[in-house]
Protein backbone atom coordinates (compact mmCIF):
# COMPACT_ATOMS: atom_id res chain seq x y z
CA UNK A 1 0.00 0.00 0.00
CA UNK A 2 2.79 2.39 0.91
CA UNK A 3 5.11 2.29 -2.08
CA UNK A 4 2.75 2.74 -4.99
CA UNK A 5 1.07 5.83 -3.48
CA UNK A 6 3.19 8.37 -5.29
CA UNK A 7 2.78 6.69 -8.64
CA UNK A 8 -0.88 6.24 -7.97
CA UNK A 9 -1.35 9.94 -7.35
CA UNK A 10 0.61 10.78 -10.47
CA UNK A 11 -1.49 8.38 -12.45
CA UNK A 12 -4.57 10.07 -11.09
CA UNK A 13 -3.28 13.52 -12.06
CA UNK A 14 -1.42 13.15 -15.33
CA UNK A 15 -1.42 16.92 -15.95
CA UNK A 16 0.59 17.52 -12.80
CA UNK A 17 3.16 15.00 -13.98
CA UNK A 18 3.35 16.70 -17.34
CA UNK A 19 3.81 20.10 -15.71
CA UNK A 20 6.67 18.89 -13.57
CA UNK A 21 8.38 17.15 -16.45
CA UNK A 22 7.97 20.24 -18.61
CA UNK A 23 9.40 22.44 -15.90
CA UNK A 24 12.41 20.13 -15.61
CA UNK A 25 12.89 20.64 -19.31
CA UNK A 26 12.64 24.42 -19.09
CA UNK A 27 15.14 24.59 -16.25
CA UNK A 28 17.50 22.25 -18.03
CA UNK A 29 17.23 24.41 -21.14
CA UNK A 30 17.82 27.64 -19.25
CA UNK A 31 20.83 26.20 -17.49
CA UNK A 32 22.28 24.80 -20.69
CA UNK A 33 21.81 28.09 -22.50
CA UNK A 34 23.40 30.09 -19.67
CA UNK A 35 26.22 27.59 -19.48
CA UNK A 36 26.86 27.81 -23.21
CA UNK A 37 26.55 31.59 -23.25
CA UNK A 38 29.06 31.76 -20.41
CA UNK A 39 31.42 29.58 -22.51
CA UNK A 40 31.17 26.94 -19.80
CA UNK A 41 32.83 24.23 -21.86
CA UNK A 42 35.96 26.30 -22.34
CA UNK A 43 36.76 25.78 -18.66
CA UNK A 44 37.33 22.11 -19.31
CA UNK A 45 40.02 22.96 -21.84
CA UNK A 46 43.66 23.97 -21.50
CA UNK A 47 43.17 27.15 -23.52
CA UNK A 48 44.58 30.20 -21.66
CA UNK A 49 41.88 32.31 -23.29
CA UNK A 50 39.37 30.57 -21.04
CA UNK A 51 41.06 32.05 -17.97
CA UNK A 52 40.46 35.48 -19.45
CA UNK A 53 36.73 35.02 -20.03
CA UNK A 54 35.92 37.15 -17.02
CA UNK A 55 38.60 39.80 -17.76
CA UNK A 56 40.00 39.73 -14.25
CA UNK A 57 43.03 37.77 -15.43
CA UNK A 58 43.79 40.06 -18.34
CA UNK A 59 46.93 41.48 -16.76
CA UNK A 60 48.19 38.04 -15.81
CA UNK A 61 47.47 36.83 -19.32
CA UNK A 62 49.21 39.81 -20.92
CA UNK A 63 52.17 39.32 -18.60
CA UNK A 64 52.36 35.61 -19.35
CA UNK A 65 52.53 36.30 -23.09
CA UNK A 66 55.73 38.25 -22.50
CA UNK A 67 57.15 35.96 -19.84
CA UNK A 68 59.92 33.40 -20.14
CA UNK A 69 57.49 30.50 -19.65
CA UNK A 70 55.19 31.54 -22.46
CA UNK A 71 56.68 29.05 -24.88
CA UNK A 72 56.68 26.07 -22.55
CA UNK A 73 53.80 26.33 -20.13
CA UNK A 74 50.28 27.71 -20.14
CA UNK A 75 47.97 28.50 -17.22
CA UNK A 76 47.00 24.94 -16.39
CA UNK A 77 50.55 23.60 -16.58
CA UNK A 78 51.43 25.64 -13.51
CA UNK A 79 48.12 26.27 -11.78
CA UNK A 80 46.41 22.87 -11.83
CA UNK A 81 47.68 19.44 -10.78
CA UNK A 82 48.93 17.36 -13.69
CA UNK A 83 47.02 14.11 -13.15
CA UNK A 84 43.45 13.84 -14.35
CA UNK A 85 41.25 13.57 -11.25
CA UNK A 86 43.10 16.11 -9.04
CA UNK A 87 43.20 18.48 -12.01
CA UNK A 88 39.43 18.54 -12.46
CA UNK A 89 38.79 18.61 -8.72
CA UNK A 90 41.03 21.67 -8.52
CA UNK A 91 39.28 23.26 -11.49
CA UNK A 92 35.89 22.60 -9.88
CA UNK A 93 36.88 24.07 -6.55
CA UNK A 94 38.61 27.15 -7.93
CA UNK A 95 35.89 27.56 -10.53
CA UNK A 96 33.31 27.71 -7.79
CA UNK A 97 35.17 30.45 -5.89
CA UNK A 98 35.89 32.39 -9.05
CA UNK A 99 32.24 32.31 -10.12
CA UNK A 100 31.07 33.34 -6.70
CA UNK A 101 33.60 36.15 -6.49
CA UNK A 102 32.95 37.52 -9.95
CA UNK A 103 29.17 37.29 -9.69
CA UNK A 104 28.89 38.84 -6.26
CA UNK A 105 31.92 41.12 -6.77
CA UNK A 106 33.08 40.41 -3.23
CA UNK A 107 36.69 39.33 -3.75
CA UNK A 108 39.87 40.90 -2.39
CA UNK A 109 41.66 43.33 -4.68
CA UNK A 110 44.30 42.84 -5.86
CA UNK A 111 43.58 39.14 -6.33
CA UNK A 112 46.00 36.90 -4.48
CA UNK A 113 46.76 33.23 -4.80
CA UNK A 114 45.57 30.99 -1.94
CA UNK A 115 48.04 28.87 0.03
CA UNK A 116 46.48 25.72 -1.34
CA UNK A 117 47.15 26.83 -4.90
CA UNK A 118 50.69 27.93 -4.05
CA UNK A 119 51.30 24.31 -3.13
CA UNK A 120 50.03 23.21 -6.54
CA UNK A 121 52.31 25.73 -8.25
CA UNK A 122 55.27 24.58 -6.25
CA UNK A 123 54.68 20.95 -7.16
CA UNK A 124 54.45 21.90 -10.81
CA UNK A 125 57.73 23.84 -10.73
CA UNK A 126 59.42 20.77 -9.35
CA UNK A 127 57.66 18.45 -11.78
CA UNK A 128 59.47 20.08 -14.69
CA UNK A 129 62.67 21.26 -13.03
CA UNK A 130 63.26 18.26 -10.81
CA UNK A 131 66.70 17.46 -12.14
CA UNK A 132 67.99 20.96 -11.44
CA UNK A 133 66.34 21.55 -8.10
CA UNK A 134 66.85 18.10 -6.68
CA UNK A 135 69.83 19.24 -4.61
CA UNK A 136 68.05 22.16 -2.98
CA UNK A 137 64.67 20.55 -2.61
CA UNK A 138 64.66 20.45 1.18
CA UNK A 139 61.31 18.80 1.81
CA UNK A 140 60.49 16.74 -1.27
CA UNK A 141 56.82 15.86 -1.40
CA UNK A 142 55.82 18.47 1.16
CA UNK A 143 54.94 21.52 -0.89
CA UNK A 144 54.26 23.63 2.19
CA UNK A 145 57.73 23.16 3.63
CA UNK A 146 59.71 23.16 0.41
CA UNK A 147 61.94 26.07 -0.44
CA UNK A 148 59.49 28.41 -2.23
CA UNK A 149 60.58 28.68 -5.88
CA UNK A 150 58.47 31.78 -6.40
CA UNK A 151 60.12 33.60 -3.56
CA UNK A 152 62.93 34.38 -5.97
CA UNK A 153 61.43 33.51 -9.36
CA UNK A 154 58.22 35.50 -9.17
CA UNK A 155 58.64 36.88 -12.64
CA UNK A 156 58.82 33.64 -14.60
CA UNK A 157 55.08 33.23 -14.94
CA UNK A 158 53.60 36.62 -15.60
CA UNK A 159 56.62 38.66 -16.56
CA UNK A 160 58.35 41.49 -14.75
CA UNK A 161 56.71 43.08 -11.77
CA UNK A 162 56.79 46.85 -11.58
Amino acid sequence: MKAPTLFMTLRKHPLLLLAIVALFGVVAGLCTYTFTYAQGFSYFSNDPQACMNCHIMREQFDGWQKSPHHAVASCNDCHTPHSFIPKYLSKAENGFWHSKGFTLQDFHEPIMIRQKNVAVLQQNCVACHEQIVDGINTHPGDPKKMLDCLHCHREVGHGPIR
Binding site: T5, V27, C31, T34, Y37, H55, T103, E109
Partner: protein, 485 residues
Protein backbone atom coordinates in the same frame (compact mmCIF):
# COMPACT_ATOMS: atom_id res chain seq x y z
CA UNK B 1 -10.37 3.95 10.05
CA UNK B 2 -6.73 3.28 10.68
CA UNK B 3 -5.97 2.32 7.08
CA UNK B 4 -7.84 5.28 5.58
CA UNK B 5 -5.92 7.72 7.80
CA UNK B 6 -2.62 6.23 6.65
CA UNK B 7 -3.79 6.59 3.05
CA UNK B 8 -4.58 10.28 3.51
CA UNK B 9 -1.19 10.76 5.25
CA UNK B 10 0.60 9.39 2.22
CA UNK B 11 -1.53 11.46 -0.08
CA UNK B 12 -0.62 14.58 1.87
CA UNK B 13 3.07 13.60 1.66
CA UNK B 14 2.84 13.23 -2.10
CA UNK B 15 1.31 16.68 -2.48
CA UNK B 16 4.19 18.13 -0.50
CA UNK B 17 6.66 16.49 -2.84
CA UNK B 18 4.94 18.19 -5.80
CA UNK B 19 4.95 21.54 -4.07
CA UNK B 20 8.63 21.33 -3.09
CA UNK B 21 9.64 20.10 -6.56
CA UNK B 22 7.77 22.94 -8.21
CA UNK B 23 9.30 25.56 -5.93
CA UNK B 24 12.79 24.10 -6.37
CA UNK B 25 12.48 24.13 -10.16
CA UNK B 26 11.07 27.66 -10.10
CA UNK B 27 13.99 28.86 -7.99
CA UNK B 28 16.46 27.03 -10.24
CA UNK B 29 15.01 28.69 -13.33
CA UNK B 30 15.07 32.05 -11.61
CA UNK B 31 18.70 31.66 -10.53
CA UNK B 32 19.72 30.52 -14.01
CA UNK B 33 18.18 33.67 -15.49
CA UNK B 34 19.72 35.96 -12.88
CA UNK B 35 23.06 34.35 -13.53
CA UNK B 36 22.55 34.78 -17.26
CA UNK B 37 21.74 38.46 -16.81
CA UNK B 38 24.85 38.94 -14.67
CA UNK B 39 27.03 37.35 -17.34
CA UNK B 40 25.41 39.54 -20.00
CA UNK B 41 26.21 42.63 -17.90
CA UNK B 42 29.83 41.66 -17.33
CA UNK B 43 30.32 40.92 -21.01
CA UNK B 44 28.82 44.28 -21.92
CA UNK B 45 31.08 46.07 -19.44
CA UNK B 46 34.10 44.44 -20.96
CA UNK B 47 33.15 45.57 -24.46
CA UNK B 48 32.53 49.25 -23.89
CA UNK B 49 33.09 51.43 -20.91
CA UNK B 50 32.75 54.88 -22.44
CA UNK B 51 29.60 56.34 -23.90
CA UNK B 52 30.14 59.77 -25.38
CA UNK B 53 26.94 61.51 -24.44
CA UNK B 54 28.43 65.00 -24.72
CA UNK B 55 31.30 66.38 -26.77
CA UNK B 56 34.24 67.69 -24.76
CA UNK B 57 36.98 69.88 -26.18
CA UNK B 58 39.93 71.91 -24.99
CA UNK B 59 37.39 74.61 -24.19
CA UNK B 60 35.46 72.43 -21.73
CA UNK B 61 36.66 73.43 -18.29
CA UNK B 62 33.75 72.27 -16.15
CA UNK B 63 34.53 68.72 -14.95
CA UNK B 64 30.82 67.97 -14.55
CA UNK B 65 30.49 67.97 -18.34
CA UNK B 66 33.38 65.54 -18.75
CA UNK B 67 31.76 63.55 -15.97
CA UNK B 68 28.84 62.73 -18.22
CA UNK B 69 31.15 60.79 -20.50
CA UNK B 70 33.35 59.40 -17.75
CA UNK B 71 31.04 58.92 -14.78
CA UNK B 72 33.29 56.45 -12.98
CA UNK B 73 36.35 58.72 -13.03
CA UNK B 74 34.22 61.73 -12.17
CA UNK B 75 32.63 60.02 -9.18
CA UNK B 76 36.02 59.33 -7.63
CA UNK B 77 37.36 62.77 -8.62
CA UNK B 78 34.54 64.38 -6.65
CA UNK B 79 35.54 62.48 -3.55
CA UNK B 80 38.69 64.56 -3.07
CA UNK B 81 36.49 66.55 -0.67
CA UNK B 82 37.10 63.82 1.93
CA UNK B 83 38.69 64.82 5.20
CA UNK B 84 40.93 62.12 6.58
CA UNK B 85 43.88 62.07 8.92
CA UNK B 86 46.85 59.79 8.53
CA UNK B 87 49.51 59.45 11.22
CA UNK B 88 51.57 62.37 9.96
CA UNK B 89 49.33 64.21 7.52
CA UNK B 90 46.05 63.78 5.76
CA UNK B 91 43.59 66.26 4.34
CA UNK B 92 42.34 68.05 7.43
CA UNK B 93 43.27 71.73 7.53
CA UNK B 94 44.94 71.79 10.93
CA UNK B 95 47.22 74.71 11.69
CA UNK B 96 50.85 73.54 11.57
CA UNK B 97 51.93 76.61 13.52
CA UNK B 98 49.81 75.53 16.50
CA UNK B 99 50.78 71.88 16.24
CA UNK B 100 54.52 72.67 16.03
CA UNK B 101 55.03 76.23 17.30
CA UNK B 102 58.73 76.05 16.39
CA UNK B 103 57.68 76.84 12.85
CA UNK B 104 56.36 80.24 13.89
CA UNK B 105 59.97 81.13 14.72
CA UNK B 106 61.51 79.37 11.74
CA UNK B 107 59.17 81.31 9.42
CA UNK B 108 59.48 84.59 11.37
CA UNK B 109 58.87 87.52 9.04
CA UNK B 110 57.30 85.44 6.28
CA UNK B 111 53.70 84.82 5.28
CA UNK B 112 54.00 81.18 6.32
CA UNK B 113 54.70 82.35 9.88
CA UNK B 114 51.15 83.76 9.93
CA UNK B 115 49.15 80.92 8.40
CA UNK B 116 50.43 77.44 7.58
CA UNK B 117 47.52 75.05 7.37
CA UNK B 118 47.69 71.47 6.16
CA UNK B 119 46.47 71.14 2.57
CA UNK B 120 43.02 69.72 2.03
CA UNK B 121 42.00 67.60 -0.99
CA UNK B 122 42.22 68.73 -4.62
CA UNK B 123 38.59 69.89 -4.53
CA UNK B 124 39.50 72.69 -2.11
CA UNK B 125 42.68 74.01 -3.74
CA UNK B 126 41.16 77.21 -5.12
CA UNK B 127 38.87 77.95 -2.19
CA UNK B 128 41.63 77.41 0.36
CA UNK B 129 44.03 79.63 -1.55
CA UNK B 130 41.50 82.44 -1.66
CA UNK B 131 41.00 82.11 2.09
CA UNK B 132 44.53 81.63 3.41
CA UNK B 133 45.91 84.58 5.34
CA UNK B 134 49.02 84.31 3.19
CA UNK B 135 46.85 85.67 0.39
CA UNK B 136 44.33 87.80 2.30
CA UNK B 137 46.94 89.56 4.47
CA UNK B 138 49.76 89.73 1.92
CA UNK B 139 49.80 91.00 -1.64
CA UNK B 140 50.24 88.01 -3.96
CA UNK B 141 50.52 87.77 -7.75
CA UNK B 142 48.38 85.87 -10.26
CA UNK B 143 51.30 83.45 -10.54
CA UNK B 144 49.87 81.53 -7.57
CA UNK B 145 46.95 80.41 -9.69
CA UNK B 146 49.08 78.25 -11.97
CA UNK B 147 48.62 75.46 -9.48
CA UNK B 148 45.48 76.36 -7.59
CA UNK B 149 43.02 76.67 -10.44
CA UNK B 150 42.24 75.18 -13.81
CA UNK B 151 44.12 77.84 -15.75
CA UNK B 152 44.83 76.22 -19.11
CA UNK B 153 41.99 78.00 -20.88
CA UNK B 154 42.74 81.27 -19.12
CA UNK B 155 46.32 81.09 -20.42
CA UNK B 156 45.20 80.26 -23.94
CA UNK B 157 42.62 83.06 -23.99
CA UNK B 158 45.03 85.63 -22.55
CA UNK B 159 47.68 84.48 -25.03
CA UNK B 160 45.31 84.99 -27.96
CA UNK B 161 44.35 88.41 -26.60
CA UNK B 162 48.02 89.34 -26.40
CA UNK B 163 48.38 88.63 -30.10
CA UNK B 164 49.59 85.05 -30.44
CA UNK B 165 48.06 83.59 -33.63
CA UNK B 166 45.25 81.06 -33.10
CA UNK B 167 45.42 77.41 -34.07
CA UNK B 168 46.60 74.16 -32.58
CA UNK B 169 50.15 74.63 -33.89
CA UNK B 170 50.54 77.71 -31.69
CA UNK B 171 49.09 75.93 -28.67
CA UNK B 172 52.17 76.25 -26.51
CA UNK B 173 52.98 79.79 -27.61
CA UNK B 174 49.48 80.82 -26.56
CA UNK B 175 49.86 79.16 -23.16
CA UNK B 176 53.31 80.63 -22.50
CA UNK B 177 52.20 84.15 -23.44
CA UNK B 178 49.00 83.92 -21.38
CA UNK B 179 51.06 82.59 -18.49
CA UNK B 180 53.30 85.68 -18.62
CA UNK B 181 50.25 87.94 -18.62
CA UNK B 182 48.49 86.20 -15.73
CA UNK B 183 51.57 85.73 -13.51
CA UNK B 184 52.15 89.43 -13.06
CA UNK B 185 48.47 90.34 -12.49
CA UNK B 186 47.46 91.00 -8.90
CA UNK B 187 46.09 87.79 -7.37
CA UNK B 188 42.65 89.23 -6.61
CA UNK B 189 42.20 90.34 -10.20
CA UNK B 190 43.44 87.09 -11.74
CA UNK B 191 41.35 84.97 -9.36
CA UNK B 192 38.20 86.52 -10.84
CA UNK B 193 39.06 84.89 -14.18
CA UNK B 194 39.06 81.32 -12.91
CA UNK B 195 36.29 79.18 -11.59
CA UNK B 196 37.42 75.61 -11.03
CA UNK B 197 40.13 73.80 -9.08
CA UNK B 198 42.24 71.27 -11.00
CA UNK B 199 40.00 69.76 -13.62
CA UNK B 200 40.06 67.03 -16.28
CA UNK B 201 41.54 69.38 -18.87
CA UNK B 202 44.63 70.00 -16.73
CA UNK B 203 45.92 66.46 -17.25
CA UNK B 204 43.97 65.10 -20.24
CA UNK B 205 43.81 65.93 -23.92
CA UNK B 206 40.10 66.29 -24.68
CA UNK B 207 40.43 64.72 -28.11
CA UNK B 208 41.77 61.35 -27.08
CA UNK B 209 42.00 61.38 -23.27
CA UNK B 210 45.77 61.00 -23.50
CA UNK B 211 47.72 62.40 -20.61
CA UNK B 212 49.11 65.82 -21.43
CA UNK B 213 51.22 68.33 -19.53
CA UNK B 214 50.55 71.99 -20.16
CA UNK B 215 51.73 74.07 -17.20
CA UNK B 216 54.42 76.46 -18.45
CA UNK B 217 56.33 76.23 -15.18
CA UNK B 218 56.68 72.49 -15.67
CA UNK B 219 57.36 72.60 -19.42
CA UNK B 220 60.17 75.12 -18.89
CA UNK B 221 61.48 73.29 -15.83
CA UNK B 222 61.61 69.82 -17.33
CA UNK B 223 63.37 71.19 -20.42
CA UNK B 224 65.94 72.89 -18.23
CA UNK B 225 66.41 69.59 -16.43
CA UNK B 226 66.78 67.75 -19.74
CA UNK B 227 69.46 70.21 -20.84
CA UNK B 228 71.48 69.56 -17.66
CA UNK B 229 73.58 66.46 -17.11
CA UNK B 230 71.62 65.37 -14.07
CA UNK B 231 71.06 61.60 -14.40
CA UNK B 232 67.39 60.67 -14.79
CA UNK B 233 67.14 56.87 -14.80
CA UNK B 234 63.57 57.23 -13.56
CA UNK B 235 62.66 59.34 -16.61
CA UNK B 236 64.17 57.30 -19.46
CA UNK B 237 62.74 59.53 -22.20
CA UNK B 238 64.98 62.39 -21.02
CA UNK B 239 68.05 60.16 -21.17
CA UNK B 240 66.98 59.00 -24.64
CA UNK B 241 66.57 62.59 -25.82
CA UNK B 242 70.07 63.37 -24.58
CA UNK B 243 71.51 60.29 -26.22
CA UNK B 244 69.82 61.17 -29.50
CA UNK B 245 71.86 64.36 -29.67
CA UNK B 246 69.70 66.83 -27.71
CA UNK B 247 67.91 68.01 -30.84
CA UNK B 248 65.60 71.01 -30.43
CA UNK B 249 64.06 70.85 -27.03
CA UNK B 250 62.72 68.00 -24.93
CA UNK B 251 58.97 67.64 -25.50
CA UNK B 252 57.36 65.74 -22.65
CA UNK B 253 54.06 65.33 -24.51
CA UNK B 254 55.64 63.51 -27.41
CA UNK B 255 58.90 62.14 -25.98
CA UNK B 256 57.71 60.76 -22.66
CA UNK B 257 55.99 57.40 -22.25
CA UNK B 258 52.53 57.10 -20.80
CA UNK B 259 54.05 55.73 -17.61
CA UNK B 260 56.31 58.79 -17.27
CA UNK B 261 53.36 61.08 -17.92
CA UNK B 262 51.53 59.36 -15.08
CA UNK B 263 54.09 61.13 -12.89
CA UNK B 264 54.65 64.25 -14.96
CA UNK B 265 51.04 65.42 -14.85
CA UNK B 266 51.41 65.50 -11.05
CA UNK B 267 54.84 67.13 -11.32
CA UNK B 268 53.16 70.06 -13.02
CA UNK B 269 52.48 71.30 -9.50
CA UNK B 270 53.90 69.04 -6.78
CA UNK B 271 57.34 70.60 -7.03
CA UNK B 272 59.67 73.24 -5.64
CA UNK B 273 59.32 76.63 -7.37
CA UNK B 274 59.91 80.35 -7.02
CA UNK B 275 58.54 83.48 -8.67
CA UNK B 276 61.23 84.74 -11.00
CA UNK B 277 61.89 88.48 -11.31
CA UNK B 278 59.40 91.30 -11.69
CA UNK B 279 57.23 89.23 -14.03
CA UNK B 280 56.62 86.77 -11.16
CA UNK B 281 57.03 83.85 -13.56
CA UNK B 282 56.55 80.54 -11.76
CA UNK B 283 59.95 78.87 -12.23
CA UNK B 284 61.11 75.39 -11.27
CA UNK B 285 64.79 75.57 -10.22
CA UNK B 286 65.97 72.42 -11.98
CA UNK B 287 68.78 73.79 -14.16
CA UNK B 288 71.40 71.93 -12.13
CA UNK B 289 69.35 68.91 -11.09
CA UNK B 290 66.65 67.82 -8.69
CA UNK B 291 68.62 67.29 -5.49
CA UNK B 292 68.35 69.63 -2.55
CA UNK B 293 71.90 70.96 -2.89
CA UNK B 294 71.57 71.40 -6.66
CA UNK B 295 68.43 73.49 -6.24
CA UNK B 296 70.22 75.46 -3.51
CA UNK B 297 73.17 76.05 -5.84
CA UNK B 298 70.73 77.37 -8.45
CA UNK B 299 69.17 79.79 -5.95
CA UNK B 300 72.61 80.93 -4.79
CA UNK B 301 73.65 81.53 -8.38
CA UNK B 302 70.60 83.65 -9.24
CA UNK B 303 70.82 85.33 -5.82
CA UNK B 304 67.35 84.36 -4.71
CA UNK B 305 66.09 84.79 -1.13
CA UNK B 306 62.48 84.13 -0.23
CA UNK B 307 62.71 86.48 2.70
CA UNK B 308 64.95 87.95 5.37
CA UNK B 309 64.55 86.11 8.65
CA UNK B 310 63.00 88.51 11.14
CA UNK B 311 64.97 87.36 14.18
CA UNK B 312 68.40 86.78 12.66
CA UNK B 313 68.42 88.82 9.45
CA UNK B 314 69.59 85.83 7.40
CA UNK B 315 68.49 85.62 3.76
CA UNK B 316 66.56 82.35 3.77
CA UNK B 317 64.65 80.08 1.39
CA UNK B 318 61.20 78.52 1.67
CA UNK B 319 60.85 75.04 0.28
CA UNK B 320 57.45 74.48 -1.28
CA UNK B 321 56.23 70.92 -1.74
CA UNK B 322 59.04 69.10 -3.54
CA UNK B 323 57.22 65.77 -3.93
CA UNK B 324 58.46 65.20 -7.48
CA UNK B 325 62.02 66.01 -6.51
CA UNK B 326 61.94 63.75 -3.45
CA UNK B 327 60.18 60.90 -5.29
CA UNK B 328 62.92 61.16 -7.93
CA UNK B 329 65.49 60.18 -5.28
CA UNK B 330 63.58 57.12 -4.07
CA UNK B 331 63.44 53.44 -4.84
CA UNK B 332 59.89 53.57 -6.22
CA UNK B 333 60.81 56.08 -8.91
CA UNK B 334 63.93 54.08 -9.71
CA UNK B 335 61.76 50.99 -10.18
CA UNK B 336 59.48 52.76 -12.63
CA UNK B 337 56.58 53.30 -10.23
CA UNK B 338 54.68 56.48 -11.05
CA UNK B 339 52.74 58.85 -8.80
CA UNK B 340 49.45 57.51 -10.14
CA UNK B 341 50.40 53.90 -9.41
CA UNK B 342 50.13 54.55 -5.67
CA UNK B 343 47.99 57.67 -5.42
CA UNK B 344 45.46 56.76 -8.14
CA UNK B 345 45.65 52.96 -8.28
CA UNK B 346 43.47 50.97 -10.64
CA UNK B 347 40.15 49.86 -9.23
CA UNK B 348 37.79 47.35 -10.73
CA UNK B 349 34.13 48.08 -11.18
CA UNK B 350 32.58 44.91 -12.52
CA UNK B 351 34.67 43.95 -15.53
CA UNK B 352 35.96 47.51 -16.01
CA UNK B 353 39.30 48.74 -14.73
CA UNK B 354 39.59 52.47 -14.04
CA UNK B 355 42.21 54.51 -12.28
CA UNK B 356 40.88 55.94 -9.06
CA UNK B 357 40.63 59.72 -9.42
CA UNK B 358 40.18 60.11 -5.69
CA UNK B 359 43.79 61.17 -5.28
CA UNK B 360 44.91 60.55 -1.71
CA UNK B 361 47.43 58.98 0.62
CA UNK B 362 48.17 55.34 -0.22
CA UNK B 363 47.99 54.69 3.52
CA UNK B 364 44.23 55.08 3.18
CA UNK B 365 44.07 52.48 0.44
CA UNK B 366 46.87 50.00 1.08
CA UNK B 367 45.33 47.01 -0.70
CA UNK B 368 45.04 48.65 -4.09
CA UNK B 369 47.97 51.05 -3.74
CA UNK B 370 50.62 48.68 -2.41
CA UNK B 371 49.53 45.05 -2.62
CA UNK B 372 49.56 44.95 -6.40
CA UNK B 373 53.34 44.70 -6.07
CA UNK B 374 53.94 43.95 -2.38
CA UNK B 375 52.33 40.61 -1.67
CA UNK B 376 52.27 40.82 2.11
CA UNK B 377 49.44 41.64 4.47
CA UNK B 378 48.01 45.14 4.66
CA UNK B 379 48.97 45.29 8.31
CA UNK B 380 52.58 44.52 7.51
CA UNK B 381 52.73 47.07 4.68
CA UNK B 382 51.23 49.79 6.88
CA UNK B 383 53.66 48.96 9.67
CA UNK B 384 56.63 49.25 7.30
CA UNK B 385 55.45 52.60 5.94
CA UNK B 386 54.80 54.00 9.39
CA UNK B 387 58.21 52.88 10.58
CA UNK B 388 59.81 54.92 7.80
CA UNK B 389 57.65 57.92 8.63
CA UNK B 390 58.11 57.73 12.39
CA UNK B 391 61.89 57.65 11.98
CA UNK B 392 61.72 60.61 9.65
CA UNK B 393 59.48 62.52 12.07
CA UNK B 394 61.94 61.92 14.91
CA UNK B 395 64.84 63.15 12.80
CA UNK B 396 62.79 66.13 11.70
CA UNK B 397 62.17 67.13 15.32
CA UNK B 398 65.89 66.95 16.03
CA UNK B 399 66.64 69.11 13.02
CA UNK B 400 64.04 71.67 14.14
CA UNK B 401 65.68 71.86 17.55
CA UNK B 402 69.12 72.21 16.00
CA UNK B 403 67.92 75.08 13.83
CA UNK B 404 66.27 76.78 16.79
CA UNK B 405 69.58 76.43 18.63
CA UNK B 406 71.30 78.31 15.82
CA UNK B 407 68.59 80.99 15.67
CA UNK B 408 68.91 81.48 19.44
CA UNK B 409 72.69 81.71 19.16
CA UNK B 410 72.53 84.36 16.44
CA UNK B 411 69.87 86.35 18.31
CA UNK B 412 71.96 86.26 21.49
CA UNK B 413 75.08 87.35 19.59
CA UNK B 414 73.15 90.20 17.99
CA UNK B 415 72.00 91.36 21.41
CA UNK B 416 75.57 91.23 22.61
CA UNK B 417 76.50 93.57 19.75
CA UNK B 418 77.97 91.23 17.13
CA UNK B 419 78.51 92.82 13.72
CA UNK B 420 77.08 91.62 10.39
CA UNK B 421 80.56 90.59 9.31
CA UNK B 422 80.94 88.46 12.42
CA UNK B 423 77.57 86.79 11.82
CA UNK B 424 77.92 86.20 8.08
CA UNK B 425 79.09 82.61 8.33
CA UNK B 426 76.44 81.76 10.92
CA UNK B 427 73.66 83.27 8.81
CA UNK B 428 74.86 81.33 5.77
CA UNK B 429 74.70 78.17 7.84
CA UNK B 430 71.17 79.09 8.88
CA UNK B 431 70.18 79.44 5.24
CA UNK B 432 71.63 76.02 4.44
CA UNK B 433 70.17 74.28 7.50
CA UNK B 434 66.76 75.87 7.15
CA UNK B 435 66.52 75.07 3.45
CA UNK B 436 67.25 71.42 4.09
CA UNK B 437 64.96 71.11 7.08
CA UNK B 438 62.10 72.76 5.21
CA UNK B 439 62.74 70.66 2.10
CA UNK B 440 61.84 67.55 4.09
CA UNK B 441 59.17 69.19 6.27
CA UNK B 442 57.27 70.77 3.37
CA UNK B 443 57.45 67.62 1.30
CA UNK B 444 54.20 65.69 1.61
CA UNK B 445 55.27 62.14 2.42
CA UNK B 446 57.00 62.40 5.80
CA UNK B 447 60.11 61.01 4.20
CA UNK B 448 58.43 58.05 2.53
CA UNK B 449 59.08 59.10 -1.07
CA UNK B 450 62.82 58.65 -0.48
CA UNK B 451 63.61 57.64 3.11
CA UNK B 452 67.37 57.52 2.84
CA UNK B 453 67.56 60.81 0.96
CA UNK B 454 65.28 62.50 3.51
CA UNK B 455 67.51 61.25 6.30
CA UNK B 456 70.62 62.45 4.46
CA UNK B 457 69.10 65.90 4.02
CA UNK B 458 68.08 66.12 7.68
CA UNK B 459 71.52 64.96 8.79
CA UNK B 460 73.00 67.82 6.77
CA UNK B 461 70.45 70.22 8.25
CA UNK B 462 71.44 69.23 11.76
CA UNK B 463 75.13 69.44 10.90
CA UNK B 464 74.84 72.90 9.33
CA UNK B 465 72.77 74.18 12.25
CA UNK B 466 75.32 73.00 14.78
CA UNK B 467 78.21 74.24 12.62
CA UNK B 468 76.40 77.57 12.62
CA UNK B 469 76.32 77.61 16.40
CA UNK B 470 80.04 76.87 16.44
CA UNK B 471 80.57 79.67 13.92
CA UNK B 472 78.75 82.12 16.17
CA UNK B 473 80.97 81.13 19.07
CA UNK B 474 84.12 81.21 16.97
CA UNK B 475 83.48 84.47 15.11
CA UNK B 476 82.05 86.45 17.98
CA UNK B 477 84.37 84.88 20.55
CA UNK B 478 81.54 84.32 22.97
CA UNK B 479 82.96 84.40 26.50
CA UNK B 480 81.14 81.26 27.66
CA UNK B 481 82.79 79.07 25.08
CA UNK B 482 86.15 80.78 25.39
CA UNK B 483 86.36 79.70 29.01
CA UNK B 484 87.83 76.24 28.89
CA UNK B 485 87.71 74.12 32.01
Amino acid sequence: MNSSSRFSDQRGFAVWIYVVTLIALGVAAYVALVFYQNIVDRKAEAKQDVFRVVEVSDQTIDPAIWGKNYPRQYDSYKRTVDTERTNHGGSEAFQHLDKDPVWRRIFAGYAFGVDYREERGHAYMLLDQKETERVTKFKQPGACLQCHASTLNLYINEGLKAGVPPGKSNWEAQIQKGFEVVCKMPYVEAAKLVEHPVSCIDCHDAENMNLRVNRPGFLNGIRALAKSDYPTPHLPSIERWRKDGRKGQYEPNTDATRQELRSMVCAQCHVEYYFKGEGKLVTYPWDKGLKVEQIEAYYNEVGHNDWKHKETGAGVLKAQHPEFEMWSQGIHARSGVSCADCHMPYVREGAIKVSNHHVRSPLLNVAQACQTCHRVSEKEITARALLVQDRNAALLTRAEQALLGLIDAIVAAQKAGATDAQLKAARDFQRQAQWRLDFVAAENSMGFHAPQEAARILAEAIDYARQGELAVARDTKAPVLAATP
